[in-house]
């Protein structure tokens, strides 16, 4: 029993070491009963933020939505989505993963720069 658990952990560790989100991670995305490794959850939250950043940047630029307030709106929306995912959908105990701060800051800076880049580019190309 102990060997099976350690073999499973080794496999998860190797899958994560590759740095890719493995098929098992994708299968776990909506599995409420799945147990999460800190690194796997961190990676998933990172990519959720990047996808939200890209979508918001493209949308905000296309409409266009202008003004610094929309940067704040993006931060609230993306943080809300990330929080909703890990706290409400997955119902993870945030203390096991370093607290709310640790989970909410996963991929934050990269997502802000990606959002600003997409927003600026679409706005510049579509409206001038």
């Amino acid at each position: 029993m102990k060997d099976k658990k350690s073999a499973k952990l080794n496999l998860q560790h190797k899958q994560h070491q590759n740095g890719h989100l493995s098929p098992s991670t994708f299968a776990k995305l909506l599995d409420l009963e799945a147990s999460w490794d800190k690194d796997q959850l961190g990676d998933v939250l990172h990519w959720i933020r990047q996808i939200v950043a890209l979508i918001c940047g493209l949308l905000w630029g296309a409409v266009p939505l202008v003004g610094g307030i929309w940067l704040v709106a993006f931060l609230l929306i993306s943080s809300g989505i990330v929080y909703g995912y890990y706290a409400i959908i997955l119902k993870v105990d945030e203390e096991e993963f370093g607290g709310h701060g640790s989970l909410l800051q996963e991929g934050l800076f990269a997502s802000v720069t990606l959002f600003l880049l997409a927003w600026t580019l679409v706005y510049s190309l579509a409206h001038f």
């Binding site: 740095g19 800190k38 929309w70 990269a110 880049l117 580019l121 190309l125 409206h127 001038f128």
Partner: protein, 192 residues
């Protein structure tokens, strides 16, 4: 034959993004060649991963018990020190090869600067705060703070593209190493 993007007023922004993407790929290729494929890096990374996971487990176990044993606390300190040492070694190892990447980035920035000096490559959909304006309006004439200089766009590209490329390729630094710095001196008393 005219480029399909030449009709856009700010098509230079796309040039900056394109060059940033190519630079990010080249930098990661150099990093892979000099750092990531070496056995030293792989063994350091796996020892950091192992140590940080072990530390997490030990800390979780010690918070469950009301009064953790002195020996357990000493063990935690030893693993922490070992983790900090490995993280410092990893930083030092990457520093040597990082100099080559820094040189590439510097050369590309210089090239882009010559190409787009004094020219707005994009239009910002917001007015940046004063401290950001120093970069976003760098080298541009006029008072319109929504004009975006190459430097700011390049900065946005570099951070977003390189970070996500590293993450995608699995070259992002291990989470356990995040807290340790190059100049952190391990506590000798704790090691003993």
């Amino acid at each position: 034959m005219a480029s399909p993007f030449s009709s856009f007023k700010y098509s230079d922004g796309l040039t900056v993004v394109g060059i940033s993407i190519c630079t990010a790929v080249v930098c990661e290729a150099i990093s892979w060649l000099l750092i990531y494929r070496t056995t030293s890096y792989k063994s350091l990374k796996s020892s950091i991963d192992r140590a940080s996971k072990k530390l997490e487990t030990m800390k979780t176990d010690s918070t469950v018990t009301a009064a953790p044993k002195k020996s357990k606390t000493k063990k935690i300190d030893r693993v922490e020190t070992s983790l900090k040492e490995s993280s410092r070694d990893l930083s030092l190892f990457k520093l040597k090869s990082g100099a080559v990447v820094a040189l590439v980035l510097f050369v590309v920035f210089g090239f882009l600067n010559n190409l787009f000096e004094g020219k707005a490559v994009a239009k910002l959909p917001f007015v940046p705060i004063r401290i950001v304006q120093k970069m976003s309006h760098r080298g541009l004439n006029g008072d319109d703070m929504t004009d975006c200089s190459m430097a700011f766009l390049y900065f946005l590209c570099s951070i977003s593209i390189r970070t996500n490329l590293q993450k995608f390729l699995g070259f992002a630094p291990p989470r356990g190493a995040a807290g340790a710095s190059l100049f952190q001196i391990p506590d000798a008393a704790k090691t003993n």
